[in-house]
Amino acid sequence: MRITNNKQLRLIANTIREDVIKMLYEAKSGHSAGSIGLADIFTALYFNVLYHDPKNPLWADRDRLVLSNGHVCPVIYAALANAGYFPKEELLTLRKLGSRLQGHPHRGSLPGIENSSGPLGQGLSQAVGMAIVSKAERKRWRVYAVISDGEHGEGQTWEAVMLASKYKLGNLTAIMDRNNIQIDGFTEEVLPLEPLAEKYRAFGWHVIEVDGHNIHEIIDACEKSKAIYEKPTLIIAHTIPGKGIPFMEFLTEWHGKPPTQKEAEEALKLLGVERSVIEEEG
């Protein structure tokens, strides 16, 4: 399933946002801003970039997607369900007893989840391990890692950055959700990370910066990363936390809480308006 039509992709991203709002409202806990802000990136990945087969999640030659910052899992769950990995009804079981949709992703519980995650800074290392295997065995499948900006406070992230460079992992594309927020506030106040692009370049990576809400820019950057040989690529995706739901946008307080009933209704109304705008644009 490779969708290239921009309108279709934007409608899917809109649906994913609606699903995330419904899931978080139903769960009564979880992380809103990051999940909503990643809807466009996950749409680009699951509906265009990745070679994968929702009916055969363990297909040996699939591209691997490692999600490092597991707290944004509502967005990957919604993307997987919309792509056909499991029934959409199941989305509303998020964080509930007996659900396959754990509060943070668990490999083995849900088809399509490549790695358990939660503690920050652990995803890129696993992606590097997978890419080392693919390269050593001359496979064609690639590895994509979605990483957060805040988790660059973890030393392990930089250990993985160095090793990816050592092994010249041209088959590895990391996408950083540069939304500038973490739990305690803005990243540049909590622990300044900039200049991120220069840091990665100094570590031997190819760096591309994109608007993380422009689905075609994201797809183009992923395509370009495939053409970079002998170097891993970092796509710095500049995103707005809570993007698409104005009362959530840019506010750090939305990092770790779900919407109330009133807020969920308001958000769904806004997304409904956005849907008709996209449809009318043709």
């Binding site: 790695n115 290392s125 696993q126 391990g129 392990q156 090793l163």
Partner: protein
């Protein structure tokens, strides 16, 4: 439980248990293209350089980065490979516990961690390098197997058994040469302790190099009229409950001996079973909540009463517990 497992006693030679791990990797690497090995700048001292020389394409040198090493291994194992991760016990599992817990054990991927240079027998390097807490921090994690082989041959078998188990595992070995007393015929099954000596007055459960020291101690005790069984408790998790209960019943006193803190180690695992299944006196002998110091292996095991004489004296003193 394996009764009367055959051993060479007294031992016929000596070797370091880390060598057994290194040899097993070469064996496994030749048989199975899916075996990968990782190290964090300690390939020679953890004996992974033998594998690296033979199978360089499946050897990953991560540098001094144990956290990344655990994660990279998890990624490799998630691709259907069997990953072996090697470093000093103080650093791995010491430095990368969270990665072992979530990237490896919660993912439930077959990564075997080899912690070498464990215990006080690492000697002159001093307290910072003496892994005395590694059993405690690994055995509390779900999905993991924890092994502490007694000598070089048992370390080789433990490595192969961990490979065959196909799940997360931790194997601790030592740097120093120790008596080689188990033989290719000595059985090794994960979760089944080996009894090497019968006894009716006390049963010593030991692991690592303390097994041989305990056998020597039992000889001394025998000369003094104390009949002391010796059990090689090489698997700390899953602990052999049957063996623990059996010896609790037969001897009425269990003394555990390990190169590890007495809190949380093999002795604790044994005591947990005794407390719940067959309460009798248990003496946990090892390191008593302290950092040790530099010295030769022999000097240290003497000072901390972990040599044959020290163990014999602890067993003798513990006999009084039976009369309470």
């Amino acid at each position: 439980m394996n009764m009367h497992a055959t051993i060479d006693f007294p031992a016929k030679g000596s070797a370091a248990s880390r060598d057994g791990f290194g040899k097993a990797l070469v064996e496994l690497g030749g048989k199975d293209q899916d075996v990968w090995v990782l190290t964090a700048d300690v390939s020679e001292s953890t004996r992974t350089h033998w594998f690296a020389e033979k199978f360089p394409k499946r050897f990953v040198q991560v540098g001094v980065a144990e956290q990344n090493m655990a994660g990279v291994a998890a990624g490799i194992a998630a691709c259907g490979k069997k990953a072996f991760v090697s470093a000093y016990g103080v650093f791995s599992p010491g430095r990368n516990w969270d990665q072992i817990r979530v990237s490896v054990c919660y993912n439930d991927v077959p990564v075997v961690f080899h912690g070498s240079h464990t215990g006080i027998t690492v000697g002159p390097d001093g307290a910072s390098h003496q892994a005395l807490e590694d059993i405690a921090i690994t055995r509390v994690i779900p999905n993991i197997v924890v092994l502490a082989p007694a000598d070089v041959e048992e370390a080789r078998k433990a490595t192969i058994a961990a490979y065959e188990a196909g799940k997360p595992a931790y194997i601790r070995t030592c740097r120093e040469k120790m008596p080689s007393f188990t033989t290719p015929e000595t059985p090794f099954r994960i979760g089944e302790a080996n009894a090497y000596r019968e006894g009716t007055d006390a049963a010593v459960f030991a692991c690592g190099p303390m097994v041989y020291e305990s056998l020597l101690a039992a000889e001394k005790l025998n000369a003094e009229g104390i009949s002391c069984a010796v059990v090689d408790c090489h698997t700390i998790k899953p602990i052999d409950k049957k063996a623990v209960v059996e010896w609790a019943r037969k001897a009425g006193l269990i003394v555990t001996v390990e190169e590890h803190q007495v809190t949380g180690g093999m002795g604790s695992a044994v005591a947990e079973v005794v407390a719940e299944e067959y309460p009798i006196p248990v003496k946990r002998h090892g390191i008593y909540d302290q950092f040790c110091e530099s010295g030769s292996a022999l000097e240290l095991i003497k000072k901390y009463k972990l040599d044959a004489e020290g163990i014999a004296s602890v067993v003798k003193e513990s006999m009084a517990m039976k009369k309470r």
